[in-house]
Symmetry: C2
Subunit: 84 residues, 2 copies
Amino acid sequence: MKFLAHINVMPKAELLDPQGKVVVKNLPNIGIDGVDDVRIGKHVTISLFAKNPKEANKKVEAACKKLLANVIMESYDFVIEEVE
Amino acid sequence: MKFLAHINVMPKAELLDPQGKVVVKNLPNIGIDGVDDVRIGKHVTISLFAKNPKEANKKVEAACKKLLANVIMESYDFVIEEVE
């Protein structure tokens, strides 16, 4: 079975996100006001084969923990859909 | 009204994503097989005030086009939820 995982990796809420702060500060300069917070992280899509949804979930969880997210500073969440 | 926008900015499908390719190549080394494609982009959350959902949508669309996405190489999509 083939699956597609949609993963979001974000800086943890209690940490500063300097890149996001810069965007907040600059949006008024391009005519966009009313924005009080911006946080910027990664969006990763993984296309993978697995025997069943449980195995797919296990693989994606491992990929997040071991490679995609720095769990000290980032949190992640994902959804998995079956595509074939 | 306060809104929270969840934006994904991804490299366009027809373009190479070298960062994603490196992840595909390295996942087997950490014991994760069966992955045939990985694409890496940005996930941005924007918290903003607007008079109504339509105005919120317009602001987020403008932020994406003018600042967050390079529309030559990246595509974006977003969902907006009302939070207050």
